[in-house]
């Protein structure tokens, strides 16, 4: 059983694409081989900046021959039928066999496909893989038309067995496969031949190429830690950077450098960001102080001066970068000292957030008002929340954030402290952007929560007000992420926020803001007055209670704004519910269970909704719950049918004196007990107790259906039993809408 070695040697492959490309190569080639009948024992793929490598062990030397028989027309059948059969099989008439069949003689075609040799199959599979490789971006070069991620220079493809190695001949445009490759670009240039994977690895290593990216990562990390440790320092872990750096070198050489004294006073985030983003350096810190004092850079070669020149060059580049950063930092601090953090953010007035939603300064105004409103619900000081919202975006105007956008918020925190603002305000500068992703931490400081919620609600309601909702795969304003952020903020802090009201008021504010720009009346007063009227009241009631200012805007126009704000708030709440379903699905809660809870009142209180859903999920997935659900559905079906048929509602007056059987009487008793427990439990939002109580109904309900025929001959007894079924439905009703649950 031969082994196969394949190397695709090219100019430098972007680091971020290498791992995926190695995996794709393995899949494309091995799938192709197996499909053509060549199975194998094991396969492995590797990558360096200049090569993708695939090794396959224990490959079949050839595919098995395949014999296929096909039955054709009868002998003597019309000529057309015979010709058709010959065409479809590709045979001539003399190659057909004639066999006896039940109804006479029949033509048979016997086609033998001989086995194909491994080289033959590999050549075809390889050409297909190279021509159809799924690079995220590919290019042409020179005068050719072949596409690869960067110019492809050579193809090494050999099959090796005990009797030696042979080149698998493959020709792709100007490239002819061979058995040679190159080592390190600078340390060992020139081509050499190999006889198999082991030989390849050995010779590559001799030519200063470490083939396995995992080995390069491990070597970099090990050596970086050792060098840092020897200097009494430690490397700040960064797995993403490690993978990237390992994809930039074939022969990693770790160099440890020190950051110049002048720059040690910069915030650690600035040092880290500047070093990582621009230079791909690891940060090295002093374990005693936590201060970033050094860096690790990974070169791609050894030198006679042990990297001294390389390190000096890197140090120089870093100093230039950090001089810039220091200039920005000092400049920004001067601005804050002279004009305060608000002063720094003054320019936000001329930065457009969205042409229908005004400037960043307009947005800050809205967020500040909203944060003040939300503050009492999270036990935050309204003044602090408003103050934090007013300065939280000021750092967008700082020189540092201009250079390093990823430091937004972080710099705000530093500048807020420099301006002497309270800690809660400074913390909110950074925390109000959180949570950014599904795994990001949720802020827990009350002021931060208030501003974070206000920020996201303003964004969501703004885009809903101007009808720029996410569609399908398009979500340019990251509104899904904002909604998930609100959900996680609310749930993570156990907040009881009547979301619908907040959404309505904010959407209403947005549409009025745009509309009122041309109005001269006391616009703000009118908006406040209208918003206070609240969501959920009828339009008439709202119009009734409108202030004189509001009325002066014109009843019809106000009416339109109110209606559209209500519609938008409803649609936005549905959007929240959809995001919540995705969020809870990860917890293993089915969408129909969530639907059963969304159908209940108070569904805009996300904490209540989720508590209910979690309890219901636990209940429904238990044995008692499953059976109770069956009992409920049976009761509900019988009752609904009877109500439809009779045109009446059986909802009152089940009386135990008409009970005929013990099972019936037991159900009466069980419902009496259940009702007395469920009601107070529901009032206390104690879903667990309520559902445990429901579970106790399972046995009596099962026994009831076992022993009793609801549709009795006696109309009195039938009605009584239907009314009893209603009590089952009623007992379940406050918990969740069980009709929504499948199964």
């Amino acid at each position: 059983m031969p082994d196969m070695l394949l190397e695709l040697f090219s100019e430098e492959i972007p680091a971020r694409m290498q791992a995926r490309a190695a995996a794709d190569l393995k899949k494309l080639v091995t799938d192709g081989l197996v499909e053509a009948g060549l199975t194998y024992a094991s396969a492995g793929a590797f990558s360096t900046p200049r090569r993708l490598v695939l090794t396959i062990e224990g490959l079949l030397a050839e595919s098995k021959p395949v014999r296929e028989e096909r039955k054709g027309p009868k002998v003597g059948a019309p000529e057309a039928a015979l010709q058709g059969f010959l065409r479809s099989t590709g045979l001539t008439q003399d190659q057909l066999q004639i066999r006896d069949d039940k109804k006479g003689q029949v033509y048979f075609a016997v086609m033998e496909k001989p086995g194909r040799s491994a080289p033959n199959i590999i050549a075809g599979v390889l050409e297909h893989a190279i021509r159809n490789f799924p690079w995220p971006k590919s290019m042409r070069w020179g005068a050719g038309s072949l596409r690869w991620v960067r110019p492809l220079h050579s193809i090494l493809c050999i099959l090796s067995a005990e009797d030696g190695a042979q080149v698998v001949p493959v020709t792709i445009d100007h490239l002819q496969s061979g058995n040679t490759t190159e080592g390190h670009r600078f340390m060992a240039p020139g081509r050499f031949a190999v006889t198999g994977f082991d030989d390849y690895c050995t010779k590559l290593r001799r030519a200063f190429v470490m083939l396995d990216p995992a080995e390069r990562e491990a070597a970099i990390w090990q050596d970086a830690q050792n060098q840092a440790f020897a200097s009494g320092l430690e490397v700040v872990p960064d797995a993403g950077l490690l993978t990237e750096v390992a994809g930039l070198v074939e022969w990693p050489v770790v160099l440890l450098g020190r950051i110049g004294k002048d720059f040690l006073g910069l915030p650690p985030e600035v040092l880290q960001t500047s070093m990582k983003e621009h230079q791909k350096f690891f940060s090295v810190r002093n374990p005693k102080t936590g201060r970033i004092e050094g860096f690790v850079t990974v070169a791609n070669r050894e030198t006679a001066d042990h990297g001294a020149t390389i390190l000096a060059g890197n140090n120089k580049v870093l100093s230039a970068r950090l001089s810039d950063a220091k200039f920005f930092w000092e400049n920004d601090l001067r601005t804050v000292a002279a004009k305060g953090l608000d002063g720094m953010g003054a320019g936000l007035a001329s930065v457009t957030f969205h042409n229908k939603l005004g400037s960043q300064a307009d947005r800050v105004q809205r967020i500040a008002a909203l944060a003040r409103e939300i503050a009492p619900m999270v036990d935050a000081d309204p003044d602090l929340a408003e103050q934090a919202a007013r300065v939280a975006k000021a750092d967008l105007q700082s020189a540092m954030v201009g250079e390093f956008p990823e430091l937004q918020g972080t710099m705000g925190g530093y500048y807020a402290r420099a301006a002497g603002l309270p800690d809660a305000v400074a913390d909110a500068c950074k925390a109000h952007y959180s949570p950014l992703g599904p795994t990001d931490d949720v802020p827990s400081d009350p002021v931060s929560i208030a501003v974070a919620l206000a920020d996201k609600i303003d964004t969501l309601t703004g885009f809903w007000a101007i009808d720029e909702k996410p569609t399908g795969s398009k979500d340019p304003y990251a509104l899904r992420r904002a909604a998930l952020g609100v959900i996680r903020l609310v749930l993570g802090n156990g907040m009881r926020l009547p979301l619908k009201m907040s959404l309505f008021k904010a959407v209403f504010g947005h549409s009025f803001e745009t509309w009122l720009q041309s109005k001269t009346v006391g616009a703000n007063q009118a908006i406040d007055g209208l918003a206070e009227l609240g969501y959920g009241k009828t339009l008439d009631a709202m119009k009734e209670a409108m202030s004189a200012e509001a009325k002066s805007l014109g009843l019809k126009a106000v009416d339109e704004k109110l209606t559209s704000a209500m519609t938008a708030a409803d649609s936005l709440l549905t959007f929240f519910h959809d995001r919540l379903k995705v969020f809870l699905r990860d917890e293993g809660i089915r969408h129909d269970i969530i639907d059963a809870c969304i159908a209940m009142p108070g569904n805009d209180d996300l904490t209540l909704l989720v508590n209910r859903a979690r309890a219901l999920n636990g209940f429904i997935t238990s044995e008692d719950g499953t059976n109770l659900l069956q009992g409920f559905k049976r009761a509900n079906n019988i009752l609904t049918q009877a109500e439809t048929k009779d045109g009446v509602e059986y909802s009152y007056g089940a009386d135990i004196k008409f009970a005929e059987t013990d099972a019936e009487r037991a159900l009466f008793a069980a419902l009496d007990t259940a009702e007395t427990t469920i009601k107070p439990a529901m009032e206390a939002e104690d879903f667990a107790t309520a559902m445990a109580e429901l579970a106790k109904l399972r046995a009596p309900i099962d026994a009831f259906f076992e022993a009793v025929q609801v549709n009795a001959d006696s109309e009195v007894i039938r009605r009584n039993r239907l009314n009893l079924l209603h009590r089952i439905r009623a007992a379940c009703a406050p918990v969740a809408d069980l009709t929504k649950i499948e199964g």
Partner: protein
């Protein structure tokens, strides 16, 4: 007639091949062997190392000599204000069509927004790019490029050269390509791009483009921290001039003019005029009054360059809002595309001339 076929591969690779034939012991990555180093440095390289250059102009002259030796036509800067060497018609237009091409030149480049009154050590509103364009891109373009670094005094045995992913896109030219920024010891010293599309046209064959930021590269090689302190001519010349002696005052004057003085109404009018002239030139009958068929792709493209620079000036004056920006870029791109459409119909692009 491209570089690669004209010139035998330079000594760079030949030397390395010899080194390899001697064989190298396998060692771990961090167990560095001094024996091997002495061998490769002393035995193979020491005598051939070029002396380090002494001035900014020497670096330019060496690049000229090197690329001239590799078969490139050494052109002179284009006589118009441009933002980058790519705008030179020797790159933009000549990367179109199927005729082989190889050119190298210095291009003074202007970026009005980068002006810092000559005070910032690394930023200038007027600087030089060195540009090489070869079509089709030769298979050894990376090796040729590395040879140019050696020619300007970068010792490959002591420095760490890396090709780091960096895709290039010019929204104003409707152009893009894939390639790298080249790092020397962590510093970006060049852009290396395989053009895929220019002016909305697919590049067939593909051109390889090299762009060196000359000031930054020279500062690194010469060990200078502030651009104005860099020796422009030889430091031992009877009249030794530093970069600052040549350019500090002009940096101040242009920074002031770009940021404060340039009349924006005039600039705006010039932009409109250039745009109109470009389109009118392209719309003209291809046959002139004497019956000659002449497509005026280059004169039209001059107007496109002009519009692009005027846009940069307006941008520096801060009179272009974020939304308008995209619209202006789109207008310049439309001109670039129209010029490209015209150029591909000309002889220089390899088009078959219609007989009249």
């Amino acid at each position: 007639m491209d570089c690669q076929s004209r010139q035998p591969l330079q000594t760079f690779f030949a030397r390395h091949n010899q080194a390899n034939k001697r064989g190298i012991d396998p060692v771990g990555p961090f167990a560095y062997s001094m024996r091997k180093t002495r061998f490769s440095r002393k035995g193979m390289r020491m005598t051939q190392k070029p002396t380090p250059p002494r001035s900014f102009q020497e670096i330019i002259l060496r690049l000229m000599t090197y690329w001239s030796g590799k078969g490139c036509a050494v052109l002179q800067p284009y006589d118009m204000e441009v933002g980058a060497g790519t705008f030179h018609p020797a790159t933009t237009l000549r990367s179109l069509g199927n005729k082989p091409w190889a050119a190298a030149y210095v291009q003074p480049s202007r970026r009005p927004t980068d002006g810092r009154y000559g005070e910032n050590p690394n930023r200038l509103q007027h600087y030089y790019q060195y540009q090489v364009l070869i079509k089709p891109s030769p298979p050894d373009l990376q090796a040729l490029y590395l040879g140019s670094l050696e020619a300007i005094g970068i010792d490959m045995d002591l420095h760490d050269i890396r090709f780091v992913e960096d895709d290039w896109e010019s929204p104003t030219l409707g152009a893009w390509g894939l390639g790298w920024e080249v790092w020397c010891d962590g510093m970006e010293v060049s852009q290396f791009t395989y053009f895929q599309q220019v002016g909305g046209h697919d590049c067939h064959p593909v051109s390889g483009e090299l762009t060196y930021g000359l000031e930054r590269l020279a500062m690194y090689i010469l060990g200078v921290d502030h651009v104005m302190d860099m020796p422009y001519n030889d430091p031992d010349a009877p009249i030794a001039l530093k970069y600052g002696d040549v350019f500090r005052q002009t940096e101040q004057e242009y920074s002031r003019w770009n940021f404060d003085q340039a009349n924006t109404d005039t600039l705006l009018q010039h932009f409109k005029d250039a745009e109109a002239e470009c389109l009118a030139t392209l719309a003209a009958d291809t046959v002139d009054s004497a019956g000659r068929r002449i497509i005026m792709a280059h004169p039209a493209y001059d107007q496109c360059i002009k519009a692009s620079h005027l846009f940069n000036l307006l941008d520096a004056r801060g009179v272009i809002s974020v939304t308008e920006r995209q619209a202006y870029i789109g207008r310049v791109r439309a001109l670039a595309r129209a010029c490209a459409d015209a150029f591909v119909k000309t002889e220089a692009a390899g088009a078959e001339l219609e007989t009249l």
